[in-house]
């Protein structure tokens, strides 16, 4: 497996939003690189505005009009999606790459039955007949543990509870047996016990279908539970990435360290949490140099105007921080930010 090329390989991807008068540029995604092998799970964590959703939308090329992929490559099954024409992307979306949106409940159409919505991708992408697609829809609803699927296929989304609608969105996503599923904050609106059910379901589906999964979340607990790899985003960049165990046990970027320290834990009681001062940056006006420098407890002079390079710390473990500039091999050329 390790010798075969990765399923997804993103290299130096940058996606910017440009305001209508062209005066305001938001570097929502900047120089992002990572690879994902078939069947693997990658967690992308970051705070609001760090660029997670923009990254996902870039992979699927369903960006809003103001957004542009300004540079980089997205190789999926060996082909560069960045240069793929729209009609070919339509054949990939929903078929080979499926996405569960940040607000899954809004992605169901209230006017169509559940059966129509679950069978639609199969009819569009695979030309399946209505009858066969409906049979498959019933099987899919059973697979996502909707009770009485024979009756439920004819119902409308409003007749279902939040947890059931969530599972229906999951059924739609896997209906064409995609190779890659991107789930953007799939459980933020769910209660704990329902969240546990849904995470278990996604894990089961992944194992059953050999799916690769990208989990976008602000919740490190979800990453700890579900993912093998993690990429931490801050101000549009991946500031640290590596195997989940390594990052949780031995984080190397000050932001990752501070984030892990700031979270209350059930198993450890402390009087005070280690808080991170300041606030996440405005991606339209990122601080010069390392964009974490105004909040970093280890900030050095060069951090304020020189942008740290992406450095390999160990196999598969990379960080963008001047503390590691001499420890490893720079993977991309650092560039001087214009202040």
């Amino acid at each position: 497996m390790t010798d075969s090329p990765p399923l997804l390989e993103i290299t130096d991807l940058s996606t910017h939003y440009v305001s209508s008068r062209g005066t305001r540029v938001t570097r929502a995604v900047q120089d992002v690189s990572f690879t994902l092998n078939a069947g693997d799970t990658l967690g992308i964590v970051g705070e609001s505005g760090s660029g997670k959703t923009t990254l996902a939308l870039s992979i699927l090329k369903i960006l809003p009009p103001a957004a542009r992929i300004v540079s980089g490559r997205i190789r999926f099954e060996g082909e560069n999606l960045v240069t793929k024409p729209a009609h070919e992307m339509r054949r990939i979306r929903g078929k080979k790459i499926a996405m569960i949106l940040q607000d899954p409940l809004a992605s169901l159409n209230p006017l169509f039955t559940v059966g129509d919505q679950v069978s639609e991708p199969m009819r569009v992408h695979e030309g399946t007949s209505r009858r066969t697609a409906w049979d498959k829809a019933r099987a899919l609803l059973r697979a996502v543990r909707i009770p009485a699927p024979e009756a439920r296929v004819r119902e409308y989304p409003h007749q279902m509870s939040g947890g059931m609608r969530q599972r229906i969105v999951g059924a739609i996503a896997i209906s064409c047996e995609p190779r890659l599923l991107i789930a953007d904050e799939p459980t933020t609106s769910l209660d704990l016990t329902i969240q546990a059910q849904y995470l278990q379901l996604l894990g089961d589906l992944q194992r059953a279908h050999g799916l690769a999964l990208i989990f976008i979340t602000h919740n490190l607990g979800i990453v700890a539970k579900m993912c093998k790899q993690v990429a931490v985003m801050y101000g549009g960049r991946i500031v640290e990435t590596g195997p989940v165990r390594t990052i949780f046990s031995n984080p190397q970027h000050p932001y990752t360290m501070a984030l892990l320290d700031s979270i209350p834990r059930l198993t450890k009681s402390r009087d005070r949490l280690t808080a991170i001062d300041g606030q996440p940056p405005d991606p339209a006006a990122l601080p010069p140099g390392c964009s974490f420098h105004p909040r970093c407890t280890k900030v050095m002079d060069r951090c304020r105007d020189e942008e740290p390079a992406d450095v390999a710390i160990a196999a598969g473990h990379r960080a963008r921080c001047w503390l590691h500039a001499d420890n490893g091999v720079a993977q991309s050329v650092p560039f001087k930010a214009k202040a």
């Binding site: 705070e47 609001s48 509870s161 947890g163 059931m164 209660d191 704990l192 016990t193 329902i194 969240q195 546990a196 059910q197 278990q200 602000h218 919740n219 490190l220 607990g221 979800i222 700890a224 539970k225 989940v244 165990r245 949780f248 046990s249 501070a258 984030l259 700031s262 979270i263 209350p264 834990r265 059930l266 198993t267 450890k268 009681s269 402390r270 009087d271 005070r272 949490l273 280690t274 808080a275 991170i276 001062d277 606030q279 996440p280 909040r295």
Partner: protein
């Protein structure tokens, strides 16, 4: 034993609802159904449970934003029902609130100084110089720059707005603050700032908190006592550290098992309870949790369990009313 600042006994709120599925006849949402607890002076009681279990309604009853259907609320030993108008005003001063959404809870057309001073102006006739001095002091206390006073809420981030809301809640020097999901809407890296601020204020000012949240680790971190609610009732109440290490009620066990790990190596049993929280309009008979409970016995579907004292905590579950401690698997 510390003195309770707030005691609640048999607190109940039923909302009548009309129409829809019930063919025009009235039904009842049992949002809060016979809840009892107390908050000790200078300490925090955490209230946890899934959405719709009645946490916010409990908060509103305590804040007198809703009138209880029945039950008793006692503040510093005095029953609310017996208070005259002046007594009620005193109560409203003594009990303040901070809500989840700092974007919705602050009036966008008011400047920060007016927002913070509003309770002061309503309750006390103070010269404006004095009001200004108090606002500055409050801004210092919550860690905001003094020049914030003349700005509008939209000029602040979520965490800063929550600081404004806290300053406002502090303006009348309350005894108790009801915190309903105070950090849920905030960015992860900001939450610790606000939780630390709340901890510091509690130590400095001797405040008591009713801390409502669905993040179990945050509740356990912030509270000495925890009450777990399910469908309008408290199912387990006791020492926060003990409950999080060794939850006893099957629902509490399920809830803590569903909490996400802090580290990938954290051992955790996979107890994933099936089903969803039933509607509080028609809760299951007997123990409300019985359709989802892995330990349910025949009597659970007909006999509502009573709250029992087991080893220093209160639990409502038939597994524990046989006298001796039952042999049920522990989560950790």
């Amino acid at each position: 034993m510390r003195q309770p600042v707030l005691e609640v006994e048999g607190l109940t709120k039923h909302f009548p609802i009309r129409g829809g599925f019930f063919g025009g006849s009235a039904a009842t949402v049992r949002a809060v159904d016979g809840v009892s607890f107390s908050v000790e002076r200078g300490r925090s009681l955490g209230l946890v449970g899934e959405s719709g279990c009645g946490k916010t309604t409990t908060a509103k009853l305590i804040l007198k934003l809703e009138e209880p259907t029945s039950g008793v609320i006692r503040f510093e030993g005095r029953e609310l029902n017996g208070l005259d108008a002046a007594g009620v005003r005193g109560y409203r001063r003594g009990v303040q609130a901070v809500f989840q959404d700092p974007f919705a809870s602050l009036n966008p057309r008011m400047r920060v100084d007016a927002i913070i001073a509003e309770p002061l102006v309503t309750h006390e006739k103070l010269p404006s110089a004095e009001v200004r001095k108090r606002v500055e002091k409050l801004l210092d206390v919550v860690g905001l720059a003094r020049r914030s006073a003349t700005l509008f809420p939209h000029e602040f981030s979520g965490g800063q707005r929550q600081r404004i809301a806290i300053a406002r809640a502090l303006s009348l020097e309350p005894k108790l603050i009801v915190l309903d999901e105070p950090v849920s809407a905030l960015d992860v890296s900001i939450r610790a700032q606000i939780l630390n601020l709340l901890t510091d204020l509690q130590t400095q000012l001797g405040l008591s908190y009713l801390f409502i949240a669905h993040d179990l680790a945050a509740v356990a971190h912030m509270s000495q006592q925890v009450a777990v609610m399910y469908l309008g009732k408290i199912v387990e109440l006791g020492d926060a550290a003990e409950i999080s290490m060794d939850p006893k009620h099957p629902y509490t066990q399920a809830l803590f098992a569903a909490a996400l790990p802090a580290h990938p190596d954290e051992a955790r049993d996979e107890i994933v309870v099936a089903g969803e929280v039933p509607s509080p309009i028609a809760p299951p008979p007997g123990c409300h949790f019985h359709p989802r409970c892995p330990f349910a016995m025949p009597r659970c579907s007909s006999e509502p369990p009573k709250l029992l004292t087991v080893g220093g905590r209160t639990i409502a579950c038939h597994l524990y009313d046989g006298g001796s401690s039952p042999d049920i698997p522990s989560v950790r």
